[in-house]
């Protein structure tokens, strides 16, 4: 069974929509300075200015350009999301893969640890920890990764266990292959797509949690973020500004999260052909 995952994802409707959304957000984030003439912290001289040619989404209570905030907020969201997801996926792969390949006592210890972390609701831990640390972007990445990896580890372990029993892995063992060779040449390629799926799902959760933490105001207040934009906009809900302050931030967050979710679903469908059957 040889599947070109990339092509399959591109073929599915949700996959294409998701990829388009992520690409758009990522492009805006990366090319932010091209789309705006302002800096996020810059005072423009106009407070609560409604949208105009100069200020596309108007300005906020301290005279900063909201469109610029939105663009730079995308940077934070994606950076934290991708960073946390990557870190979490690496930990998941290491813990899950090691447990599956080693078996025995190593497997049991690692899996009990994973299980005990799985029963703790991650958002609670994240809020408490964030309230204590007031984390900046880098620390947030570590914090989110720390609460997200157990789910992925379980998934990787089960897939690695299945991959380990495949005949071509057994065949490679009969050529005299060692553990490292098996892991890098046979098991990792086999479970690679699963790790990518874990990565995408982790990214979605990380983006959402980052927004949530900054909305609650427990993250570093100096970081420009969509969550913080919404929190600040809510304080002026009696004014008209929510239309161009609160709504765009919410929409951008929704778009990003939905994009990641769609991509994830598409990947899951490709990886698990039974889901595909049911769709038809």
């Amino acid at each position: 069974m040889h599947i070109d995952y990339w092509r399959e994802v591109k073929k599915s409707g949700p996959g294409r929509a998701g990829l388009a959304a992520i690409t758009a957000v990522a492009a805006l984030a990366v090319l932010a300075p091209l789309f705006t003439g302002h800096q996020p912290g810059e005072y423009t001289g106009a407070i609560f200015h409604p949208p105009s040619r100069e200020y596309w989404l108007g300005t906020n209570d301290v005279g900063q350009d909201i469109w610029t905030h939105l663009l730079y907020g995308a940077r934070t969201s994606l950076a934290v999301g991708c960073g946390a997801a990557a870190l979490s996926a690496i930990v998941s792969a290491l813990v899950g893969g090691l447990a599956a390949l080693s078996g025995g006592i190593t497997d049991r210890v690692l899996m009990r640890l994973t299980d005990s972390l799985l029963v703790v609701p991650p958002i609670m831990v994240a809020i408490l920890a964030a309230a204590y640390f007031r984390p900046g972007a880098a620390l947030l990445v570590f914090l989110l990764a720390a609460v997200m990896w157990p789910g992925g580890a379980r998934l990787v372990r089960s897939q690695a266990l299945a991959a380990k029993e495949r005949a071509h892995v057994a065949a490679a063992r009969t050529f005299g292959a060692g553990r490292l060779y098996l892991l890098t040449r046979h098991i990792m390629p086999e479970i690679g797509p699963v790790i990518i799926a874990v990565l995408v799902m982790d990214a979605r959760r990380a983006v959402f949690m980052e927004a949530g933490l900054s909305f609650l105001g427990v993250a570093d207040p100096a970081v420009v973020s969509w969550g913080k934009m919404m929190q600040q906009a809510l304080r002026f809900s009696y004014l008209d500004v929510w239309k161009w302050w609160l709504l765009p931030a919410g929409a951008a967050l929704s778009l990003t999260v939905a994009g990641l979710a769609f991509t994830g679903f598409a990947l899951e469908t490709v990886l698990n052909p039974r889901l595909k059957e049911r769709d038809r």
Partner: protein, 562 residues
């Protein structure tokens, strides 16, 4: 009565016979077998004193060394004390005299008899061999091949010699005539010493009690005929038997690679031998006695490669393999037959180190296996389902080259060359286009060939094939098994074939082991196991296959007649 000691015969070039030792007593028949050019006829002629070349050594007959005798004396012995039945060729009889006249003359050469008495004796002799009346008085060209052979035998018996040398007595005869002549000879040589020189193993088997195998002028194996045929110990003997169409043999015919060369230093068979070591190139092996058998081989005959001794494998409370004992010899196929779930695959996986072996031991070439990388250079496995055992992420080049990769053999270019060669060997294309194909672009048969190529790329001595063809249709199966047998012939590959199909095992294996509930319940030569199974389960297996055979002939054809 006849004792040959260290006989060498040369026609000037390399010796045709070298260092032959043989003993022959009265009432005993000894067969000398071997392919043409081995020196069989020269040996017979040497004993008769008719060889043109130079003989050294000793031929002791009746207590006297023939080689030390004067030619006159030897001539007097020829025909009287020893006689040769010559190979039945057109000029073995004089074309201008009748068979009767020629025998009369043979009698008169050695005895002072009246011509009438000699004639009477000649007629008696011809009657004894089955030529009477007009047939006896016919000219050679009027006789059939069988009749000429009878006349030649009668002529050899003319003076009732004590030693009879028969050179290809049944060559170029049809099967029925051959049977008659063989029966005739058997009756005639009872009280004589007979040296039967032949390449026809079935004739040799029926006529003789002992057998010597001659190769390149040397005796490579000698022993009681029945034992030697059932259990050949020298690789050449086995090759010879495999290429002979026996009725009892079930395996497809196989040849011996290469051809006989003369004047080879060291063991005469080493250029064609698949288990040769350096020593074989340098020194000539001396025949050594081994359980009533003389074998001239530096390795003591066909070596046992893989020995499984009382191996047990358990999965928790389930005992999948119980005290299994199997020995796999160099260059042979051993079929492990049994129902699914009988532990066949577990046994194979335990040998390959894929499941931990419980009790017992597994030895390779006499040494205990230690799961090291080197073990896998010598023992390889082909798995049941090629689609799964070849990673779908690897193209043909990567898949076949993977064992080289793992073992760290060669650089990129050398690996490519090895991969191409082994692909040629399994009859797959080896062009760049094919090398870049992925398993899903190939047919099932092709993928299994890729898997086989991958298993062979390290040039292993043992191949464990676990139902290698169960996923393939019959025509592809046939091709793949023929391929394996060809490689076995060429390289001396020992194959442990795991199958549930006893009919398949019959065609490709030398020996069959039957497994039931983790135990080996029966093991033996394929022909014997199939024709007279000893264990009840084997009987059932054989019967189940027989009942599936298509009817060979309609019972009666009368009904179709008008």
């Amino acid at each position: 009565m006849l004792e040959i000691k260290g006989l060498n015969i040369t026609y000037g070039g390399p010796p045709v016979i070298s260092g032959v030792d043989l003993r022959l007593d009265r009432g005993e028949a000894l067969a000398v077998i071997g392919e043409s050019g081995a020196g069989k006829t020269t040996l017979g002629l040497g004993v008769m004193g008719l060889v043109k070349g130079r003989c050294t050594g000793e031929i002791v007959f009746g207590g006297r060394n023939l080689l030390a005798m004067a030619e006159d004396e030897r001539r007097r012995m020829r025909g009287r004390d020893m006689a040769m039945v010559f190979q039945n060729v057109d000029d073995a009889l004089h074309p201008l005299y009748t068979a009767l006249d020629q025998i009369v003359e043979a009698i008169l050469t050695h005895r002072r008899l009246e011509r009438a008495a000699a004639r009477k004796r000649a007629e008696d002799l011809l009657r004894r061999v089955g030529l009477e009346g007009s047939r006896a008085a016919a000219y050679p060209h009027q006789l059939s091949g069988g009749e000429r052979q009878r006349a030649l035998i009668a002529m050899a018996l003319a003076n009732d010699p004590a030693l009879l040398i028969l050179d290809e007595p049944t060559a170029s005869l049809d099967a029925l005539t051959k049977g008659e002549i063989t029966a005739l000879i058997k009756g005639l040589i009872k009280d004589k010493a007979a040296l039967v020189i032949t390449h026809d193993i079935s004739t040799a088997a029926r006529l003789t009690g002992r057998m010597a195998v001659l190769y390149g002028g040397r005796i490579v194996e000698c022993g009681p005929t029945a034992e030697l045929l059932a259990d050949p110990r020298h690789p050449y003997t086995r090759g010879l038997l495999r290429s002979y169409p026996y009725m009892a043999a079930t395996k497809d015919l196989q040849g011996i690679p290469g051809r006989m060369e003369r004047g080879v230093p060291g063991c005469p068979f080493h250029p064609r031998c698949t288990q040769k070591i350096d020593l074989c190139r340098r020194e000539t092996p001396v025949p050594e006695s081994n359980g009533g058998r003389l074998v001239a081989c530096h390795r003591g005959g066909i070596v046992p490669l893989l020995e499984i001794k009382r191996l047990s494998v358990s999965f928790g409370p389930v005992r999948a393999v119980r005290e299994a004992v199997i020995t796999l010899h160099e260059g042979e196929t051993l079929a492990l037959v049994g129902k699914s779930g009988s532990g066949k695959t577990t046994l194979a996986r335990a040998v390959m180190g894929l499941v931990p072996a419980g009790e017992g031991e597994i030895r390779l070439e006499g040494g205990k296996i230690d799961g090291s990388r080197d073990f896998y250079r010598k023992v390889q496995m082909v798995f049941q389902n090629p689609g799964e055992s070849v990673s779908h992420r690897m193209n043909v080049l990567q898949a076949v080259g993977e064992p080289l990769d793992v073992q760290g053999i060669g650089n990129g270019e050398e690996r490519l060359a090895l991969v191409r060669r082994v692909l040629d060997e399994v009859e797959l294309p080896s062009d760049d286009g094919f090398l870049k194909k992925y398993p899903h672009q190939l047919s099932g048969g092709e993928v299994q060939r890729v898997a086989i190529a991958r298993a062979l790329v390290l040039n292993p001595k043992v191949l464990i094939a676990d139902e290698p063809t169960s996923a393939l249709d019959a025509s592809v199966q046939a091709k793949i098994l023929k391929l394996l047998l060809n490689i076995q012939e060429k390289r001396g590959l020992a194959i442990l074939l795991i199958t549930h199909d006893i009919a398949l095992a019959r065609k490709v294996s030398d020996r069959i082991a039957v497994m039931l509930n983790g135990r080996i319940v029966e093991e033996g030569p394929a022909g014997r196991v199939l024709s007279s199974p000893r264990h009840g389960f084997t009987k059932k297996l054989v019967e189940a296959v027989l009942s599936k055979c298509p009817p060979t002939q309609p019972e009666s054809q009368d009904s179709s007649l008008p």
